[in-house]
Symmetry: D2
Subunit: 387 residues, 4 copies
């Protein structure tokens, strides 16, 4: 998709690729992931020093104000090595830089955006609850009640990525129960997880283990008024660009994972011997590798088209919704083939293939599961809501 | 992929779409296909009157000199209604306009290109032989022997589409057996199928029945010197752009088939009732329809990227080779889902779905089978030749 | 599955196999199918002379009273050559021999079963209507009104296989609208299609073309009282064993189709040459062939288990419902691979592969579509009705 | 497959099922797996006390002398809870009880079989080497040289499951290089891993982590003559029944995994709420669950047929080779669907689904990869060796 890239995009990509190969090669990424919930602050700081946390932050607040295509490139290049650990940057970028940048107050922007750009701050999200992942609104019982000078929040949030090292959590809570539609009456807050009444319990997902993810209990947690993001009660309507941003980063992640899968699979079959020749001489193995390349090519096209539409101000609904389905399924299928050609080696935690495989698997149901995404595609095509 | 299209491309597409809806709607296309080998000359002539045979012919020879993107659009818009019958235009375009335009002599260009542009002439190919489809060179026994003033050709060719109504056949024959590589020593001829010694026997494929396809026997057929195309003995090296052109038309055909599949499937499930509601209200049916849309979207991206690369003079090998695999598999899978949602109706020759299904199936092994295409992709990735 | 077969079963199978190879080899079957709606009476008569119409008829009415396993074997051995044309026997067997044998009156049994056993009579079904295939009851508008001495039937039935050469049609009609459940108030009749008021219009499905299938209009058609089958108003409850019988024949048909696919694919790749060796030497081709064998093996196991359960008087719901899904999907996938390895040859109507492919495709949505079958499996597993 | 089971088989299964639910429920199994290489001796001992290590040991040596069907049942019932950890029993059973029972000397049988039956001993295998998994013979560099009173072994073995807690390793080593076929000149030994010169290095596979698996280096390790198993130099020919035994246990494991997947998926979707109803009310979710049930049903049929053939003394080659492909692919696909319906819960190490998913994945390339198995199937069908 070189034709979509300006010389600046290409330069950005080439520098970033060098940086990753030098500073965060796969073995470093692998160790960081395997270390479990002990968040790799050293990697976060490396990205900070190189300025990569500034990418999506508007220029007027110390960032690079990069377009979606640049963010896609960043997700891809990082994911090629880091796989799902790409969210070490991406989480703060879409939940922080994007959200605050789009609907934060001027004061919030001044307070947080420069810190994000410098790599002095981490933001994560608190949307999902134990009662339901896909049906966020239906399962939501977290409430924020207005009190003098702020709000008192009660509830439980699940899958709060890196909450233990985050400075703020973009929290979704119901502030008005007396609404006709569930999508009304919900509000976003920038919650400090070190506030009184917040407790975190480590969860144990199969992938992206180095980031840590948490169940967060909120008991009478006070959030001051100036930490409300956007208009109270209208959070759901505001969130669309943030979710679109997240989807584009997912597309980049899937593309990057496939980059990694393809290069590792190729390297393996090009050197491994079997039956007196290279493993990669066997036609069945070649077809697996070709299918990985085909998956990567399609994912790349899908990803760049989504970013392009976003940057052009075009409607991105189908591009990111279908794109997310396609990219996650290609990434999962590609990594699965990668394991198959590498056999025991690919299944060993000493290599990266099993890491790509675990991380890609997650993308098929997160941040939205592909069945729900298909429902939404069908609805967009004019069919009735089926859920 | 609107962003790739210039205003001229869009205008071309919109006019063509109106033309097709007015002049070659699906029921007309369906009847033409069902009529079997009685080639639909009236459709060919309709295209002629509207100037669509001129698309790929260079302007200096009376054509529109359109780029690959325009040709892709034409294949797509025609295929949406005609499905595989798109070759009523495409065969002459790549085997005639493209080939003669690229490596014909000036005299050949003057003689044939204006006729092609006007729709006064049809060209088809004679490459494959009964002994083998994928291994064209290995299976080839057709020879052309130099005699005074021309060549004498003997052999048998298979799957010569529309040969019974073609004015010239782009014939591949061995002119030199004393070569080190099979790809040397083969030559292209523009054979007149009405020449003495040519006999045609109708074959019976499952799809594109209206075009007719033939086994062609050649017994001491004389071809004059001026009907040699390009340099004798070097045909295989010249053919690449012609084959690339063919692949791009295949990509357009697959995209167009998926356009047709999607619109027919949607129309059916939006009106058909079952269990007291619309069929399209059922989630399993919605997912099938969403999957058709996803297949179409990917195929469209693949197709436009290939045409774009061709027009930009970039390397198109992977774009058309992987693209052909992807597009044909998506088209076949999409049409299969189309039958599944339509049930008995989709399987009935009174609807178009079964036609899309049959035609898309062909694309998975023709013009090159997808296994061979995967071998070639693997080879391009650096692995050894496996066949 | 030899262990399930008694010596009598094996002898039956071996004789039938010889009969098919001698009397109905594939080229004969292919010609019969290609001949379109001109039902192959000569093949029906061949089966009659050899006694194969008697298989499922109880011994006391001149039949062989064979168990379900024997019927499965018969469907399989016939389908290996005839593919979907197996219904030349099977339709009369399940709609006639089974239904009349199970819930016909003694007089009906005496009148019809000996004729069926001798091959003097053909029976087909009239269940489906234009308004809906899967939702038979919901779409049914055909009514039968009680009059003196009989009933007057009005309505339209669709997909009446071989109705033009059938002596009786097992017709489902509503006889009571004042019921709480749609499954009550429907009655079965043995309608003579030559009755006044019956008109047939040929339909044109993509497969099993030789059998012919029809839209049947019924205008004030009189059916005498003695042609009611079973208790009026309770047809739906009675039909289960008939539908189970049909499903087992579908399983046999799918197994037989896969037998044919495997032997044709193997024969082709064992002799066809490509790139200086046999096509079947190529690993990718070998894997396709292995996958056909794997599909056939699974289908065989599924089919025999269903018949075994039926004969043992065990619950067959899951065995025939899951079995039908599995068998039809394996048969369709197997035939699809068969085309892929044979390329243009497999797609040519001069070979049987394309016939297997078309016929197997039908089984995925008929007699019940696989989506509905999956709904029913889920319901049996304890989940709520989803349609 | 109840009809294949004698009353004794059923009683055995029912008792074992109760035992597992009482003594090794899923949470116990999950904890044992998560504990990493610290082999769960307490579970091994539980099986010992209940007599389950005696299953495959001949009666004359203190065992139950159970047939293959019983062993299949044991693998299945254990795997339903333990998943891949089933090898806590199975490894010693096929590598020890089966191998020594079949080709051990009388002295070896007397020494080892009673200990195995009592659960006083563990055996594992040392076949694979770092240079190659599928091509065991081609990659093998481990040699055993004859010396007075025994043999001196040098080499490296990989993926030695539970070697750290094993009493003997069934080791394959080359004892004669001067042979025409690689399959000649290899010998089996019962190596004590506590011998001098043996060193173990823990490997880190993605699944079955509780068993531990090791790289084993052998430097001048002395193995006494009486620890040779079977005839020196002819190991490869003897091994077939051992490998068949292993395959049957794999089939049982895959069936048991699918039992676990189905029950966990059903339980989840039957209780989890989304959009105001049970998750399992959604049709797309129902189809996933139905597909798991369909996978389980096919795997069960395949597995029992293989065991039945083995017990009947029939040729089992295709039953275990195709069976292994089918079972592992169904298990992997089923567990993948299980994760998809459970979403984040299924991906969490607090549930068993992710464990089934990891373990099932291993079966697709181990003990033989499915590509190689497909090659072997094709060869059995009469095609040439392709590797």
């Amino acid at each position: 998709m070189e034709h979509l890239l300006s010389p600046e995009h290409r330069a950005f990509r080439d520098e970033l690729r060098s940086f990753v190969e030098r500073e965060i090669p796969k073995n470093v990424a692998r160790a960081a992931e395997a270390a479990g919930p002990d968040y790799p602050l050293h990697l976060f700081d490396k990205l900070a020093r190189a300025g990569y946390h500034a990418t999506a932050v508007p220029t007027e607040y110390g960032g690079h104000g990069a377009d979606m295509l640049t963010q896609l490139i960043q997700a891809r290049e990082l994911a090629r090595s880091l796989a799902g650990m790409v969210w070490i940057w991406g989480m703060t970028s879409f939940a922080g830089a994007n959200s605050i940048g789009l609907y934060g107050t001027e004061a919030q922007k001044r307070e947080f955006l420069p810190r994000i750009a410098r790599g002095d701050m981490r933001v994560t999200i608190g949307f999902t609850e134990p009662g339901g992942g896909t049906d966020v609104l239906g399962a939501m019982t977290t409430t924020a009640q207005k009190v003098s000078g702020g709000w008192v929040v009660n509830g439980v949030k699940k899958w709060c990525t890196s909450a233990h090292v985050s400075d703020r959590i973009l929290l979704l809570a119901r502030t008005d129960k007396d609404v006709q539609r569930k999508s009304d009456g919900v509000t976003l807050f920038l919650l400090d997880p070190k506030s009184e009444g917040v407790s975190l319990e480590a969860l144990s997902p199969l992938g992206m283990r180095g980031l840590g993810t948490f169940l967060m209990e909120l008991r009478d947690v006070f959030v001051p008024d100036d930490m409300v993001v956007g208009e109270p009660g209208r959070a759901w309507r505001m969130l669309l660009p943030t979710l679109t941003n997240e989807r584009v980063l997912v597309l980049g992640t899937c593309t990057g994972i496939l980059d990694g899968v393809l290069e590792d699979a190729l390297a393996y079959v090009s050197t491994r011997e079997a039956f007196g020749r290279r493993l990669g001489d066997l036609q069945a193995v070649q077809h697996h590798v070709a299918n990985i390349a085909i998956a990567q090519y399609q994912t790349e096209l899908i990803a760049y088209e989504a970013a392009r539409r976003a940057d052009a101000g075009e409607d991105t609904f189908m591009a990111v919704t279908m794109g997310k389905i396609i990219a996650s399924e290609h990434a999962a299928a590609g990594a699965d083939l990668g394991i198959q050609v590498m056999g025991g080696q690919g299944y060993s935690t000493e290599t990266d293939m099993q890491r790509y495989w675990r991380d890609a698997r997650l993308m098929r149901f997160s941040p939205v599961n592909n069945e729900m995404a298909r429902n939404l595609v069908a609805e967009r095509l004019g069919l009735a809501r089926s859920f």
